[in-house]
């Protein structure tokens, strides 16, 4: 998969996090897998259809997830992953992907996104799709975020 399909997602994550005051984001690693298998505490994922199709997943540790939800909810303290915080994380993944879609659109590549889903639980391994998947890990002040991009291109 070409890097041109990865950059919009990275830019979008950076942009949205910036709006919540999370700056100083660094790329930590990049790896390729044959499928989108994920093993994280919390994973939010969104389907993509249109000129390109596949799935994008944003995965984090429970701690990072709580901090992200808190940032999204105007700094409200988050003790546990309840309905409200799950809604916040789902919406966040929607924003990430929506922003990426807008960047693709500006490059004449149209895509629609499906409503976000959330998987929460320790020691869960799930395989979301069987396309070749690129995983970019980024470091932020509130922890690591893995962005899994599995597109059929």
């Amino acid at each position: 998969m070409n890097a041109k399909y990865v950059n919009p997602f990275l830019k979008a994550v950076e942009h949205v996090l910036g709006q919540f005051g999370i700056v100083d984001i660094t790329k930590k690693s990049l790896q390729t897998k044959e499928d989108m298998s994920i093993e994280s505490d919390v994973t939010a994922f969104v389907g993509v259809v249109g000129d390109i199709r596949g799935n994008v997943a944003y995965a984090f540790s429970e701690e990072t997830a709580k901090k992200l939800a808190s940032a999204m909810m105007m700094g409200m303290p988050v003790e546990a992953l309840n309905d409200m915080t799950r809604s916040a994380l789902a919406e966040l993944s929607n924003m990430f992907t929506g922003n990426a879609a807008a960047i693709f659109e500006s490059e004449k590549c149209h895509l629609d996104i499906t409503p976000p889903s959330l998987v929460v639980g320790e020691e869960v391994l799930f395989v979301l799709s069987f396309f070749q998947t690129l995983t970019v890990s980024i470091d932020t002040a509130i922890g690591t975020i893995d962005i899994h991009i599995g597109l059929e291109v």
């Binding site: 949205v16 309905d83 809604s87 916040a88 929607n94």
Partner: protein, 378 residues
């Protein structure tokens, strides 16, 4: 307490907007709906001032809800603020064209949270409040107008029958109430009548017509001739209005005493006289100054014989519809000649045809008050 409805399928977004608004605004109550169907249900059951509406929602989206609100006579005044993610900005444009008041984009930035969103909602609340007050004010005025209209109608008869005179009349004010006026009274064996057209229309003109009723009724008790009655009315109007445009009136006064018609004119369009024995239709062409413009004007009184079946057609210039042309009776004259057959036994039909006939000539709507009074000697 003003009700604000927040519609968003995402729980966290509803919570955020609710929190921001409750922090920033006083005296508000937030209701929530997670989809368009629930939103419409809440709108139907509550008095909602402002709706904050997410564009993207499953099943029934924000645009559909907006359309439903804005096309409903009951809900269309509710202020709607749209919200969307930045990539839905095309839909926001559509929403604004459909009547949404404002919009904001998600995610909410610090600036939006602190300043913009509360300000937008405050403006929307004010706008709704103003619209409501305006509607209430309009309803109030409409009620007052209806009362005044009823009062005026009670003053203007459509049919009167005296010993030797029958009066038929029709009055259509262009604004519910108006400044045309006619009156017919029997006094000591004589039948007095007057038709008048007051400059302008609406409430002010109607008030003057009420006044005219009183002056005329009093004047015919004191004065002997139509000319003297007009002189008296002119003096009173000039004294009250001092020549200002509000008190300017055209009027025609007639008095039938046995077989004599005495008459005088103050700038009013010439009435038509139908003589039954000759089957002739003629204009009663006599003129004089408009009432209320100058002091001490003299009005001439002329006399003519009037026999059984003879009929006088009086009208205001609204029926011709050409404003500022006070004496233009050519078209009424032509009309009466053409419809001569009605004079013998069907005056009601004459009136019925007369009004739409002239109304059609003026593009199908009344631009001035319209009045017709027909006096027939039996």
């Amino acid at each position: 307490m003003k009700n604000i409805l927040v519609v968003d399928d995402v729980m966290v977004n509803r919570m955020l907007v609710k929190k921001i608004l409750l922090n920033a605004l006083e005296d508000i109550n937030i209701l929530e709906a997670e989809d368009g169907f629930k939103a419409m249900k809440i709108i139907a059951q509550n008095d909602i001032s402002v709706v904050i509406l997410d564009v993207m929602m499953p099943d029934k989206d924000g645009i559909e809800v907006l359309e439903e609100i804005k096309t409903s006579p009951k809900y269309k005044n509710i202020s709607v603020i749209m919200c969307s993610a930045i990539h839905d900005i095309e839909k926001v444009k559509k929403a604004l064209s459909l009547g949404a008041m404002d919009y904001f984009t998600k995610p909410l930035t610090q600036e939006q949270i602190a300043i913009r969103l509360p300000l937008k909602v405050r403006n929307a609340l004010e706008s709704y409040q103003q619209k409501r007050e305006l509607i209430q004010f309009y309803e109030h005025i409409k009620e007052e107008m209806q009362l005044a209209e009823e009062l005026q109608k009670s003053m203007i008869a459509e049919y009167l029958n005296f010993e030797s005179i029958t009066m038929y009349g029709k009055y259509i004010p262009c604004e519910g109430i108006g400044g045309d006026f006619y009156i017919c009274k029997q006094l000591q064996g004589k039948v007095w009548f007057m038709i008048a057209d007051i400059v302008g229309h609406g409430i002010a003109a109607a008030m003057i017509s009420t006044m005219l009723n009183v002056i005329f009724s009093r004047s015919i008790q004191i004065h002997k001739t139509p000319g003297a009655v007009l002189e008296n009315i002119n003096d009173v109007l000039f004294e009250v209005f001092n020549g200002s445009r509000y008190g300017i009136i055209s009027a025609f006064v007639g008095c039938i005493n046995e077989d004599t018609l005495a008459y005088s004119n103050a700038g009013h369009p010439y009435p038509i006289l139908y003589r039954e024995t000759l089957e002739s239709v003629e204009e009663i062409s006599i003129n004089g100054f408009l009432l209320g413009m100058f002091e001490n004007i003299k009005y001439e009184t002329l006399n003519t014989r009037i026999g059984s079946g003879d009929t006088v057609v009086l009208y205001t210039d609204g029926i011709i519809g050409k404003e500022n042309e006070y004496v233009n009776c050519e078209s009424v004259h032509t009309f009466c000649i053409k419809h001569k057959q009605y004079f013998a036994d069907n005056i009601q039909a004459l009136i019925k045809e007369m009004i739409p006939f002239f109304q059609n000539q003026n593009g199908g709507k009344y631009i001035d008050d319209v009045a017709v009074m027909i006096i027939k000697k039996t």
